[in-house]
């Protein structure tokens, strides 16, 4: 028996003597996170500058800190009531069925800890050696991070800026091979702010069917549309190609911190059942964690009682801020938006570095902007699209105006002298 302590069995001091070490893969992966990139940008920024100006965040995905984007008291009541009652386990299948031509049942809905965990689960379930999935570029790199972590390869297809960021369908076909298992679309789009038409989604469904893959549709921004195109859930094409819909209450109710999301199988032909994808999801959920039960319990009340005015109000603010953003950006010569945002909270803008001096790329632009003007914008490199910018307009309209003014002032200050184009 060991008699422990000093002398015999003294712990060796250096790292080499320990059998455990960090995973190299893991250390690299968090560079693919928006949070990681924003962290680096904010590192160079003071909390408040000498002029007493507040920070203007236009790089985030979460607007709930702003009063104009507060959630509805109905949602708060629902959770508080559920908490006190001890109820749990309810399903949002009726809510999600209302946009579809077929009924979902409770069995088609899996509750998750926000849409993030939904992505985690799907990547875990799909990953097998040699498998690959197709993701959009620009896109939310969390898919890649999770896919790689689970040993899958990610291949990127383009979204076409000149066509309202539609999917390059020929590109998809060229990329896929026999190891491709699925393709991801984000609609309404993060980061592009696009809202796909019925016709375009029908084409996506046809291509997927032809390739024998299914569609993962990230609809976390569902219903947050304010332009011409109405929101069409991909699940509408569930009988053409099996669809896994990811969603959550985070965006529409503006409560990302509540962590309640879902995976829905839109698959009236039962393909997921037959191919054991359903079984796999269930197995994973058995060993994994799920959302706080009283938040689950609050869902029926939350879905039933939230008044239409709350949703309309949110959309009105988004419409207003999208307009401000679109119009004001026109006045900045080194920045171009190929299409006006119609949904979600974001717009992608191209940065013309040739007009600027002392700025080497989008990351550099954003770091200097944060430092000099206390405005935070996400560089496109965080989304696989270098030298573009993702601008979040979901903030108070007056702050947005202020922010864009500061952006303009920064661009003017850094312009190359002979390329000053006044508009």
């Amino acid at each position: 028996m060991e008699n422990g302590g000093a002398g015999n069995g003294r712990p060796p001091a250096s790292a080499a003597a320990w059998n455990f070490a960090a995973s190299g893969t893991l250390l690299g992966l968090s560079a693919l996170s928006v949070r990681g990139v924003l962290g680096r940008i904010k590192a160079g920024m003071a909390a408040e500058d000498d002029g007493g100006r507040p920070v203007i965040p236009m790089g985030h995905g979460d607007p709930s800190a702003f009063p104009c984007f507060s959630t509805t008291p109905d949602a708060v009541d629902a959770v508080a009531d559920a908490l006190r009652s001890g109820e749990h386990n309810c399903y949002p299948s009726a809510y999600l069925s209302s946009d579809l031509p077929y009924e979902l049942s409770a069995d088609d809905v899996y509750l998750t800890i926000g849409c993030s965990q939904a992505i985690e689960i799907i990547c875990s379930v799909l990953a097998r050696p040699g498998a690959n999935i197709l993701c959009p570029r620009p896109g939310y790199l969390f898919y890649e991070a999770r896919a790689i972590f689970n040993g899958m390869e990610v291949r990127y297809f383009d979204l076409l800026p000149e066509s309202g960021w539609e999917v390059d369908l020929d590109g998809v076909q060229a990329l896929a091979d026999k190891n491709t298992v699925a393709m991801v679309i984000v609609n309404p789009g993060n980061p592009c702010g696009n809202v796909y038409t019925y016709e375009h989604l029908a084409k996506v469904a046809e291509i997927a069917k032809k390739l024998g893959i299914f569609v993962i549709t990230d609809e976390v921004y569902a219903h947050l549309t304010f332009g011409q195109n109405k929101f069409v859930p991909m699940g509408v094409f569930g009988s053409v190609v099996p669809v896994l819909t990811l969603g959550s209450i985070s965006k529409r109710w503006v409560v990302p911190g509540w962590r309640l999301g879902w995976i829905v199988t839109n698959d009236p032909n039962g393909v997921f059942q037959m191919t054991k994808v359903v079984e796999s999801i269930k197995s994973y959920l058995d060993i994994s964690c799920d959302p706080a039960t009283f938040v689950q319990g609050a869902i029926p009340q939350l879905l039933e009682n939230t008044k239409g005015e709350f949703f309309e109000k949110t959309i009105d603010v988004l419409r207003q801020t999208a307009d401000i953003c679109w119009e004001k950006l026109k006045g900045i010569s080194c920045i171009t938006c190929p299409s006006k945002p119609e949904g979600s909270m974001f717009v992608m803008a191209k940065l013309d570095l040739s007009c600027l001096q002392g700025i080497k790329d989008d990351m550099d632009f954003c770091c200097q902007l944060a430092k000099e003007e206390l405005v935070v914008i996400l560089p496109g490199c965080a989304l696989g699209y270098k030298n573009w910018l993702r601008i979040t307009f979901a903030i108070e309209p007056s702050s947005l105006e202020d922010g864009i003014e500061r952006l303009k002032s920064f661009c003017l200050r850094h312009s190359k002298p002979k390329v000053l184009l006044e508009t």
């Binding site: 028996m1 060991e2 422990g4 302590g5 069995g9 003294r10 712990p11 790292a15 320990w18 059998n19 960090a22 995973s23 893991l26 250390l27 992966l29 949070r35 990681g36 979460d62 709930s64 800190a65 507060s70 708060v76 508080a80 908490l83 993030s116 875990s124 379930v125 799909l126 990953a127 097998r128 991070a145 972590f149 689970n150 026999k178 190891n179 024998g212 009988s239 099996p242 990302p256 911190g257 509540w258 962590r259 032909n269 393909v271 037959m274 191919t275 054991k276 079984e279 796999s280 269930k282 197995s283 058995d286 060993i287 994994s288 964690c289 959302p291 706080a292 039960t293 009283f294 938040v295």
Partner: protein, 419 residues
């Protein structure tokens, strides 16, 4: 769509690791057992198989905790997703430091969605091809499930029933090799109900140090002790070998559904920092979700303001139900309890099928029991010990007694005439 099977669809037969991991789940066994139940039978179902006692009125959390969370939701301060307010990891650090000879700080704490996510994260971070991890048998299947899912090899060391379920330290030394990264211990123990002594934990720490491995201490039942051994946190030995302590409010506050837990780095020598394990944990954080923010927001209030009366009441109740259970089991011939439980909600008991007619093993016993008596026990096979049973006694005493009466009656009915 035509039914020509998996051939046409390229995504057929998804990740085999998920299926393998999913096999290791208590849920799976319970679902099978519930399928045998006559849900419309005249008698109410008595579950003696669960890990969550909150459906019994006597096991309800403190109203202060509920109010704290309701207040946090209403305040509107916690709807967003910035990094967590430092007040909550700080509250956890202070709570845990109370039992340690050194201070934990906010950087030592990672907040998780319950202890389950803590297990997930720790296994993700260490899961590399070729690595192996030492787990107890009997044990908690989620440890194994996540280890397997993250491609680690699992090696089991024994807990010895005759020695109060102590860890067989010699077997640990025999099992470990250069690829072993960690030993997992659970204290207070699920499923055995024992509580390790200071001396025994010290031995484990020394062994870990000698082998160059860290200790992952699942202390989700921390402080839920009612026998002669006090609760000793493994973090006390953090200077001997680095310790990652996993915990949650789930058991002590009886709110497993609230999904608030933690990983605490108990490593005053900074070895986990040096070996970049801490960096790995931070990196991984960016790839996962965390607890609902308003629960995080309520934590300082919950941890500081829960009065001792609530804790003592729960412990008293567990002591009473442990006594009842132990007493009743003693009277059942075909079942033996090698060690009276002193902590957690469970006891492991041995089943002697040779004394029973037409019952071949623990799964068979539990299936027939559930069908005939509407009482659910967990077969030991779910935890790596065939022909043992895990009994949960954390429910209200009247129902517990009723349930154990039915078990007794079942055993008598199935008794083999020769025994």
């Amino acid at each position: 769509m035509d039914g020509d099977g998996g051939k046409r669809w390229r995504f057929a037969n998804p990740n085999p690791a998920v299926a393998a991991a999913g096999e290791r789940s208590i849920q799976r066994y319970l679902v099978q057992l519930h399928a045998c139940l006559d849900e419309h039978g005249p008698r109410p179902i008595i579950p003696l198989s669960h890990g969550d006692p909150s459906s019994s009125a006597c096991f309800r959390t403190t109203p202060e905790a509920e109010e704290a969370v309701a207040a946090a939701v209403r305040s509107g301060e916690y709807w967003a997703t910035p990094p967590p307010p430092p007040a909550s990891p700080l509250a956890v650090a202070e709570y845990l430091s109370g039992d340690l000879p050194y201070e934990l700080c906010t950087d030592d704490i990672f907040l998780t969605s319950g202890c389950t996510q803590a297990i997930e994260i720790v296994m993700s971070v260490f899961g590399q091809p070729g690595a192996n991890i030492l787990l107890p048998k009997p044990g908690y299947p989620k440890h194994e499930a996540h280890a397997v899912f993250h491609r680690m090899e699992v090696r089991f060391y024994d807990l010895v029933p005759e020695r109060g379920w102590e860890v067989d330290v010699e077997s640990i030394e025999a099992l470990a090799d250069d690829n072993t990264v960690a030993i997992v211990i659970t204290n207070p123990n699920n499923p055995c109900g024992n509580v390790y002594t200071y001396e025994h934990l010290s031995k484990i720490a020394d062994t870990a140090s000698k082998l160059g491995v860290l200790v992952i201490a699942d202390e989700v039942y921390g402080h839920l002790v009612y026998g002669s051994n006090p609760f000793v946190p493994m973090g006390l030995f953090g200077e001997t070998a680095p310790v990652l302590t996993l915990g949650a409010i789930s058991k002590r506050w009886i709110v497993p559904g609230w999904r608030f837990g933690w990983i605490a780095i108990c490593d005053p020598k900074g070895i986990l920092k040096e070996t970049k394990v801490v960096d790995s944990l931070r990196s991984f954080r960016n790839l996962t979700t965390d607890p609902a923010t308003f629960i995080q927001g309520a934590i300082p209030h919950i941890m500081k303001n829960t009065n001792d009366e609530f804790f003592s009441k729960t412990v008293e109740l567990l002591k009473e139900t442990a006594e009842i259970c132990y007493g009743e089991i003693m009277e059942i011939k075909c079942i033996t309890c090698p060690h009276k439980p002193e902590g957690s909600f469970f006891m492991m008991v041995k089943l002697d099928v040779s004394q029973l007619l037409d019952i071949c093993d623990d799964v068979d016993f539990c299936s027939k029991l559930v069908k005939e008596e509407s009482v659910v026990l967990l077969p030991g096979r779910a935890l790596g010990m065939e022909n043992w049973l895990r009994i949960t006694f954390a429910l209200d005493p009247p129902r517990l007694k009723l349930g154990l009466e039915r078990v007794k009656s079942f055993c008598q009915r199935h008794q083999s005439p020769s025994s």
